[in-house]
Symmetry: C2
Subunit: 262 residues, 2 copies
């Protein structure tokens, strides 16, 4: 096929007319590095409490993580009630990282809140449209329902997948989400970004944390009264590490296994 | 039913005999908060290059994120070759966040490297067993293959799911991963934790970033010569924001939608 003539720019490719100016501020990389390097999964905590204000601040910073199409498909359940907390420890198989924790937060990936959130985000964008690029408004209004909608019980998922795969034979297309599995990946991914903020924030405020998977997620859903579409991404415990609360030196495999320059 | 007699502690519940001592260091929460708050998804970058050393350092910090059973199921492809980079921009639908980026990194969730990595981690633990709790060694040796194994093409997935669901009727059990969908969630979750480190690190080093989903993942796999089991989690672009590179003020819905105290 002959080279096509100069292609018209798509809406995605165009740089919109933007008024907003938000200069980058100067930050301290050494301080950040200290936070990242000293964050260790803490298996045993001391009796030192975590001030309420610290938990609240860390949760607030969690919600500032980037997230998919600003649909904020996350939720955080700070389990404070003593009997619920005790029950949650059991559902974390009684592991010391939960049993000795001062605080336990269940981080939840919601597969079902994007419609509500999209509507609310759109309302905000419309109310502020003088300051929002039209393309962004258009994206929330038109693309989001198409990109994330799959019909009840994901019945349109297979059709969507087939359509995308067929189109994809001929042109560049966004491939997902196109199934329940994709939507699960999508929601957990965004939630995990916030979880990392949360854990780093605890460290930055001089506390420690441990992410826990491999728990009885089904019973955690029941404990919190959550529907099936609210999936437990991880449980994060927090407190101050006890003297031997970090079991061994941090170990990562040789980075050449993971970092590739191409 | 009568209360059961004092239950024997399971291996999970016991606090092991630990020699390692790693005191928490003092960190600067205000500096960390500045990093989190000033990280904005940057849609247009200036021409200022990102020094190689900064990219390398940020990638190094990415690999220090917590991850599931230390199986490090992530990979980062820093696309430096000019023609590959140009091709990748197209697969990101030509969006300015990719087209104007100084650097592009494809963040990949591997569903298939856990066996290799588990073996390598186990070798390390065995070589250092004087300093590693026996329970940790045991976990890597015995639990990991059971927890993450599903047979070729996940054929044992449905059986595993059924078994877990049946056991789960009677007792607390870890529910997953028990299917390919679960393994996808698992791998992307761990990768996203590292992605958040990466984006925050760029900000901490006075650069900006943008996470991109909704791209042609299948073609990205082909471009990088990756198998299907190496799924694109997101593409992260980096550089310095141009004057209008952040399109509008950060907006999050009311936190009462997401933060619950129970």
């Amino acid at each position: 096929m002959a080279a096509s003539p100069e292609k018209k720019q798509s809406a995605f490719e165009r740089i919109p007319n933007v008024k907003h100016v938000e200069p980058a501020i100067k930050t301290d990389s050494a301080e950040f590095e200290k936070v990242v390097r000293s964050r260790r999964s803490t298996r045993v905590y001391s009796d030192a409490p975590v001030p309420e204000s610290v938990v609240r601040k860390c949760l607030e910073l969690a919600l500032l993580a980037p997230n998919s199409s600003n649909l904020q498909c996350w939720e955080f359940y700070w389990v404070r009630d003593a009997s619920k907390k005790q029950a949650l420890v059991k559902l974390c198989l009684g592991q010391p990282a939960a049993a000795t924790a001062q605080e336990l937060i269940v981080c939840v990936a919601r597969l079902d809140t994007w419609k509500r959130n999209s509507k609310l985000v759109l309302e905000h964008l419309v109310a502020n449209q003088a300051d929002v690029p039209a393309a962004k408004l258009n994206y929330q209004r038109k693309i989001v329902p198409l990109a994330y909608g799959h019909g009840p019980f994901y019945i349109f998922g297979p059709l969507k997948k087939l359509l995308i795969a067929t189109l994809g034979l001929f042109k560049v297309v966004p491939r997902g989400p196109a199934s329940k599995s994709d939507m699960r990946v999508w929601a957990h991914k965004t939630t995990a970004l916030a979880c990392e903020n949360l854990m780093l924030a605890f460290r930055a405020f001089d506390f420690d944390s441990c992410p826990m998977e491999g728990i009885d997620e089904r019973r955690v859903q029941k404990l919190l009264g959550l529907p099936r579409s609210a999936e437990v991404c991880m449980v994060i415990s927090a407190g101050k590490r006890s003297q031997n609360g970090v079991y061994d030196k941090q170990f990562r495999l040789n980075s050449s296994l993971f970092l590739h320059e191409v």
